[in-house]
Amino acid sequence: MSSSGKAKRLLWLTISHIILILVAIFALYPALWVVLSSFRPGTSLYSETILPRIWTLDHYRELFTKFPFGQWYINTLKIAIISTVFSTLFVLLSGYAFSRFRFRGRKGIMTGLFVIGMFPSFMSMIAVYILLLNMNLLNTHSALIMVYSAGAIMGYLLVKGYFDTIPKSLEESARLDGAGNFRVFFSIFLPLSRPIIVFLSVTSFAGAFNDFIFAQMVLRTQEKQTLAVGLYNMVNAAFATQFTIFAAGCVLVALPITILFMFMQRFLVEGLTAGAEKG
């Protein structure tokens, strides 16, 4: 390579690095700002310095004394975990049924589910609310769990696509040994579908964890609320006066999910790509 080519290449690499560093700052800054704000004394959004002059843990303490933050955490975990278990199991089972069995109405059901999925979910919210009101389920966690898991079957396409790639010969030998449908599902399909299980459970966990619109509509009293609702109300009520407490709340809410996503990154990207390829 000529020396001018080398110089050009070096220049280009330098420019690339500068761009990458700028993007890194752009990506990192909001999170960094909130973490720093959560350690800053006082309550306001405004601060004179980027780094706090004095570091304090007061806001983390106030979260638990001024708000039922611990209770919110327990509520959220309870709702998210139970609905994750249900919806993952449901969607895996329906994917199994659609992939491995041919039955009357199969195509019709699959198309129907696909069509229903295209209606905006907010459209049905009022009616769900009326139903819950009539069933006396308002302000209960089971209402949320039920609604979150009821929609699980609509994600069948991803699982079906994945199961379609598992060779039939694997289950045939098991069936010859007399294994029933459930046995085949639990002992052959489940062990082979780790990536998809991780993807489904992380996304449905995050979905339940992050929902504030529906949760806000259903959960009325403060001690029943979830983190998302609590945090939303906190910043909506009086953000200027409690900003640092809100920042501390953000840190505690975001931390577990962020770590989970970072570790599960590979599965999540694979799942998203596969899901879109399948439709």
Binding site: I19, L20, L28, V269
Partner: protein, 436 residues
């Protein structure tokens, strides 16, 4: 008379009787039980349900003379009547389906007997459900579940579009709701203020969906390509940092961003002030607000595009590039002829999917601006409102339920045509039956 004629006829008269003739006593008995329950339920509820759905109630809340004083008396609650009516009708449809299946079953068993086979006993029947009807066994409960929490509410909302269910004049329990046909549709497209709002919001929704999808995709593409180059140091570090916006829960990021872009006290304004620059009205000026939310959406969305594109980049065979280098291709030519087509080939369905997602990207708009700044020419909408946030505000905050439903139907029509197009291009349709 022949068994194949008599047992279905008996089953048609009374559920389970044909099964008794076929000597399937336990089955016959459980069907008889279902018959009694179903018939009782239908007789006591169907009339009222149909009346409710058709009339939506006849008496509004009104004053009535009780003895000497006038008392407020509860009228019919149109919306409850509609929802409850739909549930009753659905249950009765289920009952009718069971009834038909019962007749068919009686016939089939009779045929078996005439051919000299012994019919299944109850245990065998249950076992058959577990094996042959296994897929229906696991799907049916889910479908019933789905029916109550998704389909029924959806049917309800679709029907609402044909009523006058809207504030302030037609909100139960104080008033009744009535069927008005396509009036709400007509109003939305012809009443000048509504039509103006609809077309305005629709135009911005499309612009928003296109811009936010393209910015995230091509931004992510650029970063992935930059990062993939030979000679870049700390690749892993950069990639981890870029992951952050994807990993932090979206609603937390958005709530943070809203404060970050606070025009008065936000840190960005503050830094600009430090350099003697007046901070822009990030979220309070229509144009600035649109730019700001696009930027915020880019922050949220570029990582996932970057990650997916990085995945594709690693699958492109190296020798393609080497061959191109031998032919003297420049870096840009290699990108244009090899990298770009490979990525687009793999990810076009995803980009279309992301477009549909952004079309309904509620969280970004709702949490950042809630549709504001207010547009005084619009009906209940602001400059940054997209269809889905407008729908939400119309129903939850303003009680214009029928208009909200009409908009929901519009969103469905737009997205459905899009998704069907996308769906047909994917392998799903073509390869469906070939895999085995």
């Amino acid at each position: 008379m022949r068994r194949t004629i008599i047992s279905p006829i008996l089953s048609a008269v009374v559920m389970g009787l044909g099964q008794f003739i076929n000597r399937q006593y336990l089955k016959g008995f459980s069907m008889l039980l279902l018959y009694i329950l179903g018939l009782y339920y239908s007789m006591t509820n169907l009339g009222h349900a149909l009346w409710g759905v058709i009339t939506l109630g006849e008496k509004a809340q009104h004053l009535e003379k009780v003895g000497r004083i006038n008392k407020m008396v509860h009228g019919d609650h149109s919306i409850f009547l509609l929802v409850q009516g739909l549930i009753v009708i659905f249950l009765i449809i289920l009952f009718v389906v069971a009834y038909i299946l019962n007749i068919r079953d009686a016939y089939r068993t009779a045929v078996e007997i005439e051919q000299g086979n012994t019919p299944n006993n109850f245990g065998q029947t249950l076992k058959k459900i577990g094996t042959k009807n296994f897929p229906l066994l696991i799907i049916t409960p889910q479908l019933i579940f789905l029916f109550f929490f998704t389909i029924l509410p959806l049917i309800f909302s679709l029907l609402i579009a044909f009523t006058d269910y809207s504030s302030p004049k037609h909100i139960p329990p104080a008033n009744l709701v009535d069927w008005i046909g396509f009036s709400a549709f007509k109003d939305l497209f012809t009443l000048s203020t509504w039509a103006h709002t609809f077309y305005g919001v629709f135009a911005w929704t499309v612009a928003w969906a296109v811009l936010s999808t393209l910015s995230c995709f091509f931004g992510g593409f650029l970063i992935a390509v930059l990062l993939q180059q030979k000679g870049i140091i700390f690749k892993k570090f950069f990639r981890t940092v870029y992951m952050l916006p994807f990993a932090i829960p979206g609603f937390v990021s958005l709530l943070i961003m809203r404060n970050l872009f606070n025009t008065q006290f936000g840190p960005l304004t503050q830094y600009l002030n430090f350099f003697g620059i007046q901070g822009p009205p990030w979220l309070s000026d229509p144009t600035w607000a649109k730019g700001t939310i696009l930027l915020v959406n880019f922050w949220l969305g570029f990582p996932i595009s970057m990650l997916m594109i990085t995945g594709i980049l690693t699958t492109i065979p190296r020798d393609l590039y080497e061959a191109a280098e031998v032919d003297g291709a420049s870096g840009f030519q290699k990108f244009r002829m090899i990298t770009f087509p490979a990525v687009m080939f793999a990810l076009t369905p995803i980009v279309i999917g992301q477009f549909a997602g952004n079309f309904n990207n509620f969280n970004v708009i709702y949490l950042m601006t809630n549709g504001n700044p207010v547009n005084s020419d619009y009906q209940f909408a602001g400059h940054t409102d997209i269809l889905i946030t407008w729908l939400y505000n119309l129903s939850i905050n303003n009680g214009k339920y029928n208009f909200a439903s009409v908009i929901g139907i519009m969103i469905f029509i737009i997205l459905a045509s899009f998704s069907i197009y996308n769906f047909r291009r994917t392998r799903f349709y073509r390869e469906e039956e070939t895999y085995q």
